[in-house]
């Protein structure tokens, strides 16, 4: 026992408690990353579809078809409080399953909680077919036949290959429709709008001579003619795509006809082998990063959000690097190192700690309403009262984030400059170089890794910031990418989508949170990976840099 009191006295238990704090922090970080990775990556794996015989509380028995999405053990009393009917012999703890039954258009809901005591039997239904659809979510059922304009063309075993072949055709048609609608008709609409603005501008400036107007009218006519042909083409494509349908039997025995035009992908989840599953997984993953969102962002991909985030961050980096570096060089190399400079340095340092929402408020008030409003009045009077730059958009978002991250770049660059030994500068000056030459040829190249660190940290911060962006330019669904083939190609006035905001919006504002949640985890994973990689790079560069100068100093 003496050793125990001595052990207590030595302080060792407290050391262990301290160690516990580190261990807890580590568990939290790694657990968080693991949780996001598990939930995010798991989503794309094709889940098996079970067939349930389920006793409802009122005694009736139903057949259900669905994926098990979640299961939990819950207190029976609490369930009864919530209005569920739990049999008395079920015990105190009841397991319940969250089942995705799909077929929202037929059942009115996607998800159902089933309690264990009610499940009479469950088995992996053979041959069950799952459709991913463009609307109404997933569809589960058995394929009976494939129809072309209402006539059966394949039945029984032949139906599945026929369905796949016809789906490929639908896919192709769908792609062509999209190209026509988005790219070609979109471009025509864009040009028509430009013509309208040109005309309005001529009127405002009093230059609306009949000749100028006639020119515009002629152009408008050609565009409209082109539009009419495209429209006709489009109508034809729409007729074609509606040709085929699949006759399906659903869990409750009803026969339903599903038009193939609405089907994105068909698969037989229970018949897939490991290779099939892996292929499916990769295809889904690719769709996630390369496709556009469907169904109010709860399905499909997040390409526009990735694109918007990357473009905004690149613009921001282009703005923040020169200004941040110049300010740092000024503070470290040119400004006299008096108390004023020290004060400014502290102020700049602390601006990095000012809440991002404050920058957002500033961006909205100053950039959007004040600068944007004046730019509109001076340069784009023809569009008024519809704002061009006087509304949140890509340019203001990049500027706001540039302002938010400029202290990061300044601090990192200054640190890099401070680490360069005096002897190097003095050597260069002693050899007759001017101050600017010393800076340009010697100091800045040596400090470039520090600038790089600053830039990477700035980019990492900007990519993860959401609060200010909500005020200055991010939207839940942007109709067009800010970069396209219509001049001037880069549309700084457009609103854009953003990964972080996507998480907030889909996770909290979406009408179907349950269905959207896995997608949010996947988006979060993507964002975390990007940011962790960027930060690790910055840390790596910083460490290498330290080693290098340590060698120089000796």
């Amino acid at each position: 026992m003496r050793s125990t009191t001595e052990w207590m006295k030595s302080g060792a238990p407290w050391i262990w408690l301290n160690a516990g704090a580190v261990a807890a922090s580590l568990i939290m970080v790694l657990g968080l990353l693991g949780l996001i990775a598990y939930k995010g990556l798991g989503h794309f794996w094709p889940a098996r579809v079970w067939e349930f015989q389920y006793h409802r509380a009122d005694g009736s028995e139903v057949r259900l078809l669905g994926e098990i999405r979640d299961q939990e053990s819950i207190n029976a009393a609490r369930l009864r409080d919530a209005g569920e009917q739990v049999p008395e012999d079920a015990g105190e703890e009841v397991t319940r399953y969250l089942v995705k039954i799909g077929n929202r258009d037929l059942f009115g809901r996607d998800f159902l909680w089933l309690i264990e005591p009610g499940i009479a039997s469950r088995e992996l239904a053979p041959d069950v077919v799952a459709f991913e659809r463009r609307e109404w979510g997933n569809f589960y059922g058995w394929l009976l036949a494939v129809k072309q304009q209402g006539d059966k063309v394949a039945e029984g075993g032949a139906a599945w290959p026929e369905l796949l072949a016809r789906l490929r055709r639908v896919d192709e048609l769908h792609d062509r429709i999209r190209t026509l609608e988005k790219d070609e008709i979109g471009a025509i609409n864009y040009r028509l709008e430009r013509l309208r603005l040109q005309q309005r501008r001529l009127e405002l400036e009093g230059r609306d001579t009949p000749r100028a107007l006639a020119g515009l009218e002629a152009e408008r006519k050609t565009l409209k003619a082109r539009f009419a042909t495209l429209r006709k083409q489009l109508d034809g494509l729409y007729r074609d795509i509606r040709r085929d349908s699949a006759l399906m039997k659903i869990a409750d025995g009803r026969e339903v006809e599903v038009p193939l035009a609405k089907v994105v992908r068909a698969y037989r989840p229970n018949a897939m082998g490991p290779a099939g599953r892996a292929g499916f997984y990769l295809a889904k993953l690719w769709e996630f990063v390369s496709d556009e969102p469907r169904e109010a962002n709860t399905e499909g991909g997040i390409f526009p959000a990735i694109f918007g985030t990357v473009l905004m961050v690149m613009l921001m980096a282009a703005l923040v690097t020169p200004f941040g570096v110049v300010a740092a060089v000024y503070l470290r190399e040119y400004a006299s190192q008096g108390p004023l400079t020290r004060l400014i340095r502290i102020a700049v340092n602390n601006l990095a700690g000012v809440p991002s929402i404050v920058y957002g408020v500033f961006g909205l008030g100053f950039f959007v309403y004040f600068l944007g409003g004046n730019i509109d009045r001076l340069l784009f009077p023809e569009a008024l009262p519809a704002p061009t730059f006087g509304t949140p958009g890509l340019m203001w978002a990049s500027l706001t984030l540039a302002l938010l991250t400029v202290p990061v770049v300044i601090v990192a660059t200054e640190e890099g400059l401070a680490r360069i030994p005096r002897s190097i500068r003095e050597g260069s000056l002693a050899l007759g170089a001017t101050k600017a030459e010393t800076l340009w040829r010697t100091v800045l190249p040596m400090a470039s890794p520090a600038m790089m660190t600053g830039l990477i940290l700035a980019v990492a911060r900007a990519a993860g910031e959401v609060a200010p962006l909500m005020l200055v330019g991010v939207v839940k669904l942007a109709p067009a990418l800010p970069l396209d083939t219509n001049p001037p190609f880069l549309h700084l006035d457009r609103k854009f989508m953003h990964l972080g905001f996507h998480i907030y919006d889909v996770g909290f504002q979406s009408p179907n949170v349950e269905a959207a949640r896995p997608l949010v985890y996947a988006t979060a994973l993507l964002l975390v990976v990007v940011i962790v990689v960027l930060n690790l790079t910055a840390i790596y560069i910083r460490n290498r840099l330290r080693e290098r100068y340590r060698a120089l100093e000796q």
Binding site: A327, E333, G464
Partner: protein
């Protein structure tokens, strides 16, 4: 810094001059750029201040014109249209003058068709925005008219055409069947009908309600009239007001008694309450309804204007109560409410006009407008102009600049008694569907929510981060430290939107279903660690040598995971044993503590997670850079490592640790996404760990995009941003100064 270019003997070479020029240019360019960037950053502060400033400016008014009243007779009622360009006055002979407010020139004159030999003895106006006015005649009849203004743009110029309508027909309606002259009148008019109340002396009160007849043709529908005579219980009447819903009638007697009649069924009116509203013998000078018709303004003879409205008393009955009163300097002769805001104006015996605002309980300004007594006043619908008639029959037209009357120190930070509430409260409710809504702009609940969130976050973060920093800096093996430090620092870069999302959608339901387990963690973890340490201490030497000193943390990782699982597994069992199977339910049933799923506990954990790296990183640096010779000296004198840590290292590093904590507070106060997603965002003033909050930052994020530019709401939100900015800036600067002092101290040691 001394000039660094070489001496001038090379000066003859053109090349060198070029180099010098370039050097000079670079110096200017960098200087301009650097100063520019710094100014741009400082611009944030000044821009926020620039937007907030108008809130602090005192209102102002300026004289535009003064002219003889059109028609030359004293008016019974004055009003202006929306743009304050056209004014209207009604006189006792039944003449209506429309005139240009800018110069007094007459635009249109109308003579109302009064029955022969009668004149107007009294006049009452409904809610000013409706434009409905009732004229009480000397034969006991009343005529209801409405003044309206049509705006057209012939030739791109605005033309305002005044019109007069007769909503109840051009014939006067009989109110007093005995034909006595009406002395006091009240009217309200709405879509469901028009109600009039008239008094012509004595103890009788005449009520008349005109309801539109059920007809298919809306426009030309007739009216059904309902009449009722009831008792006036307060003696000679000074004034009578009806609320806009036509359910309550307030009678105010000359001796200062108020009777509140319920007339929701006009055929069976009943007395709700009768109370004195002034001291005995003081009397009443005027009574008006504040915009919205909930509050009564009663001007007493003692120079005070009281605001009264119905409040639920202890017995649950609604009773009229004096909420606040305003001092009027000179005897009051005119009292008018604003159209949409809760403000009013007074005209006084010395020719002054004063503007007040009820919610913010302040007199905004007082100006002499005329040499004589002001006997009639009108405010423009937008509150940007006023028209005053003095005893000499001159009209004075003034422009008023009064954009933000509802803001004062007390309305932003103090308890305010809002209309319809039973007691003074701190409330934030910035907008509602109806126009004459009273904005509740108290920043106190938001600031409270901000600090509450920060407090719980610190409660979670401080122990973990500081204990962790001590271990990492002082005890941890260097190889492990090289991995651990960056790992924890990466946490800092994790987007808070992800933390908020996990907190709201994953952690909050988990905590709700495992509430006892979460609290059990608080006990299980520390004791579990101590137990593990004790066991390890008594473990065979053979095992101990496998894990070198400084790797305890790694050893504890599986232990902690196991303990955590254990606590969560125990949760349902504990819940059954102690809380009847449902702790949230038990909390509200047994302790009366409400439970929100998204509560302070969840926010504290999520935001604590976000600030752990901030504190950890700074505190660890501070401890790690304590000079080695200090610790070596202490150890050499025989102190144990723990004693050295407590007595030497922590003491030296404490300013650094403190500065880390301050940085953490700064970050927690400004964090937006986590609180936005992990709380219910209700602005409650409640420290309970099971309730949510609304913070300044989340409030800004939610409301700024919707706020109308330059409105009071918009500026108050900017003020909230400025408060956040100043607060975090002050905290960070404090932390930075502490750190710099510490660095100097170390270098001198």
């Amino acid at each position: 810094m001394p000039d660094s270019h070489p001496s001038d003997d090379y000066g003859s070479s053109a090349h060198f001059r070029l180099r010098l020029l370039r050097d000079r240019l670079a110096q200017y360019a960098v200087g301009a750029g650097g100063v520019g960037v710094i100014i741009a950053i400082l611009l944030i502060f000044f821009y926020l201040l620039y937007v907030v400033m108008p809130l602090l400016e005192s209102p102002d008014m300026e004289a535009v014109a003064s002219y003889q009243a059109p028609g030359g007779t004293p008016s019974l009622y004055l009003a202006m249209e929306e743009q304050a360009e056209v004014g209207v006055s009604f006189d006792a002979a039944g003449r209506v003058h429309f005139f240009a407010t800018g110069d007094g020139s007459e635009i249109r004159r109308l003579q109302l068709r009064l029955p022969k030999g009668t004149r107007v003895t009294t006049l009452a106006a409904a809610q000013p925005a409706s434009g409905v006015v009732a004229l009480g005649l000397s034969n006991g009849q009343a005529l209801v008219v409405r003044h309206r203004y049509r705006v057209s743009f012939p030739g791109d110029r605005r033309l305002i055409t005044p019109e007069l309508e007769y909503p109840l027909g051009e014939e006067p309606l009989t109110l007093d069947p005995y034909g006595h002259a009406l002395q006091v009148l009240a009217i309200q008019s709405g879509e469901d009908g028009t109600t009039l109340a008239g008094w012509s002396g004595g103890t009788q009160l005449h009520l008349l309600q005109a309801r539109p007849e059920e007809s298919l043709l809306d426009d030309e529908g007739g009216f059904e009239l309902f009449r009722r005579t009831t008792t006036n219980s307060v003696g000679p009447l000074k004034a009578m007001r009806m609320n806009p819903e036509q359910r309550a009638l307030y009678l105010v007697g000359e001796d200062g008694r108020l009777a509140w009649l319920d007339i929701s069924d006009v055929e069976s009116p009943s007395l709700v309450e009768q109370i004195p509203v002034t001291a005995p013998g003081v009397g009443v000078r005027d009574v008006q309804l504040l915009a919205g018709g909930i509050s009564l303004l009663i001007a007493g003879g003692d120079g005070r204007v009281g605001q009264w409205f119905a409040v639920r008393d202890d017995a649950g009955e609604r009773r009229m109560r004096l909420i606040r009163s305003f001092d009027v300097q000179a005897p009051l002769h005119a009292l008018v409410p604003e159209y949409a805001r809760k403000g009013f104006a007074t005209g006084e015996a010395d020719g002054s006009v004063a503007l007040y605002h009820a919610t913010s309980h302040q007199r905004l300004l007082r100006r002499p407008v005329s040499a004589g007594t002001i006997r009639r006043l009108a405010l423009a619908p937008r509150g940007d102009a006023l028209l005053a008639e003095d005893a000499d029959g001159r009209l004075h037209f003034w422009r008023v600049h009064n954009p933000h009357p509802e803001v004062s120190w007390s309305s932003l930070w103090g308890k305010v008694w809002y209309e319809g509430h039973d007691r003074p409260e701190y409330l934030w409710q910035s907008s509602a569907a109806d126009n004459d809504f009273e904005p509740k702009l108290s920043l106190t609940p938001l600031t409270f929510g901000t600090f509450k969130a920060a407090f719980y976050a610190m409660l979670f973060a401080i122990p973990l981060s500081i204990l962790g920093a001590i271990y990492a800096a002082y005890f941890m093996a260097p190889r492990m430290r090289r991995v651990v430090k960056p790992t924890i620092e990466i946490m800092e870069a994790l987007p808070t939107v992800i933390l908020g999302f996990l907190a709201g959608l994953w952690l909050a339901p988990l905590v709700e279903s495992h509430l006892p387990g979460v609290f059990a963690l608080l006990i299980v973890l520390p004791f579990g660690i101590l137990l593990a340490a004790w066991l390890w201490h008594h473990a065979p030497q053979r095992w101990k040598s496998l894990v070198p000193e400084g790797w305890e943390a790694a050893l504890l990782v599986p232990v902690l995971i196991g303990l955590g699982m254990l606590a969560l597994q125990l949760s349902p069992w504990l819940e059954r044993l102690l809380f009847g199977g449902d702790m949230p339910h038990w909390l509200s049933a047994e302790l009366g503590i409400g439970f929100d799923q998204r509560n302070s506990l969840v926010v504290g954990m999520a935001m604590g997670f976000a600030i752990i790296p901030t504190i950890f990183s700074i505190a660890e640096d501070a401890i790690f850079s304590v000079p080695r010779h200090l610790t070596n000296g202490s150890l050499a004198l025989g102190a144990t490592p723990w004693q050295t840590l407590m007595r030497v290292v922590l003491l030296t590093a404490s300013p650094g640790i403190f500065s880390g904590v301050m940085m953490g507070v700064g970050r927690a106060v400004g964090e937006t996404m986590i609180v936005l997603m992990a709380t219910g965002n209700t602005p409650v003033m409640d420290m309970s760990i099971f309730q949510g909050m609304r913070t300044l930052s989340a409030n800004i994020a939610v409301e700024v995009p919707e706020a109308e530019v330059a409105s009071t709401h918009y500026r108050v939100l900017f003020l909230a941003a400025l408060v956040l900015f100043l607060f975090t800036f002050a905290f960070n600067t404090g932390a930075e100064l502490v750190r710099q002092r510490l660095r100097r101290k170390y270098s001198s040691l």
